[in-house]
């Protein structure tokens, strides 16, 4: 097993310690995991350890146990839950390399900043005024990492997961959910001109107090609004697929993509001058 782990990386022992520490503090209020010596915690641990063996370059990352817990609880079979979890990992940002500048978290945050700028300009202007640390949008990190799992009660969170997994028109529906939450609950941030730290405090206090149905409805509306725009900035060109076909919203023309002149990379913009 030791060979599975990279030289210089964490030792097998430390991976196991990390997993053990997190398993005992994941979803313990759920009846499926509650109580001392609950055998389902051992199953959760087995799955996470097996995943770390299968994907040694990823190993175990904090947050994985949060994503696994509802899967195991729903499927109630170790082998099936393992493969289901492994499949889910493929579409999370856990599998992207976090040490490079081009990691998935940065990409998600870049898209989200652009979406906010486009769809909620007042909110974006206020956050930008709070400084570059505020623009890291730390209040959404947990939303994105755990796909809102800690923001809604479990049955609602699973509802949100399925809406995101449907990949309808976009593989980034979760970002529309983020914008929806800000649109519905974030107006006070602008009205009261909250500073950076209080923005963080404000959004973290919303956890478990939001209405998932309202949020999803709003997110779907925002996606519709986005897809109907006549032109979108080049920074958001990769966000949605605009292919025509038998889809419900294919009656409108393709949006024009316009160079916004403010993207981070130094490659020439393919949309410049269009």
């Amino acid at each position: 097993m030791k060979d599975c782990l990279r030289a210089g990386g964490p030792t097998w022992q430390s991976v196991e310690n990390t997993v053990t520490k997190d398993v005992v503090r994941t979803d313990r209020k759920n009846p499926f995991y509650e109580g001392d010596d609950n055998p389902n915690m051992d199953i959760m641990k087995n799955i996470l350890m097996n995943y770390a063996v299968m994907c040694p370059a990823i190993g175990y990352i904090q947050g994985m146990s949060d994503l696994l817990a509802p899967i195991l609880c729903t499927i109630q079979n170790e082998a099936d839950a393992f493969w289901c979890f492994a499949g889910l990992m493929q579409r999370t940002i856990f599998v992207s390399s976090p040490r490079t500048t081009n990691n998935m978290m940065d990409k998600n945050l870049e898209y989200l900043r652009e979406l906010l700028k486009l769809l909620l300009p007042d909110f974006f202007r206020h956050v930008a005024k709070c400084g570059s640390d505020a623009l890291q949008l730390m209040f959404v990190h947990r939303w994105i990492l755990l796909c809102f799992k800690r923001e809604f009660p479990e049955s609602s969170a699973l509802h949100v997961w399925e809406a995101c997994w449907a990949d309808y028109r976009t593989a980034y529906f979760h970002l529309f959910v983020c914008v929806a939450i800000v649109a519905i609950y974030g107006q006070d941030v602008v009205v009261q001109q909250l500073p950076h730290d209080e923005i963080l405090l404000y959004f973290s206090s919303l956890a478990m107090h939001m209405d998932a149905d309202v949020v999803l409805k709003k997110a779907r509306g925002l996606l519709y609004q986005f897809c109907r725009l006549e032109k979108i900035p080049c920074t958001l060109a990769g966000l949605c697929q605009f292919q025509t076909g038998s889809e419900q919203w294919d009656s409108h023309i393709q949006p024009m993509i316009e160079c916004s002149q403010v993207h981070g990379d130094n490659d020439p913009c393919p949309f410049a001058g269009k």
Partner: protein, 211 residues
Amino acid sequence: MAAGPYNYSYIFKYIIIGDMGVGKSCLLHQFTEKKFMADCPHTIGVEFGTRIIEVSGQKIKLQIWDTAGQERFRAVTRSYYRGAAGALMVYDITRRSTYNHLSSWLTDARNLTNPNTVIFLIGNKSDLDAQRDVTYEEAKAFADENGLTFLECSAKTGENVEDAFLETARKIYQNIQDGSLDLNQADSGVQPKQLPRTTPAGGGDAKQCNC
């Protein structure tokens, strides 16, 4: 009015760092809520707490940032450390590995904060003396060598938790009084209350594209 919750002279930014499972969130919770949070879930992303304290008759708002022990996203780490006036560096007295990693946490803290940041070493879980894996003397020697203040605390019983947070604030306040901490410096971690900081809209990261 004098006792109003928004009446304070300074904001100090604190960060809590250390390996996963050493009790960072529990220390924060004990300090802000005066309660032990059993079954505390592991932190994902950044969490946050505030409390107003008093040092030498001045009300100070502590703004305490708490992050995951295993933080993988660099952008977060940088913003997290930046502008911290105080850093609480925590290990678990019952797990030697968490103590052995202190030098790497200390390197990060020194590299990513300003030279005046007050770093306070906390040996947490002092209530579990029977399972002790690191002696007080050994950790005290490490703290002295590195110029850190040190206390053993228990987030569970609350022992020494207030002292650790308050002592850090006293040191920061002292640095302001004797002029070694320059409040005009952008990353001092201390904001006088009536001084809104503004930065140009758009932030620093956006670059012009080459087209």
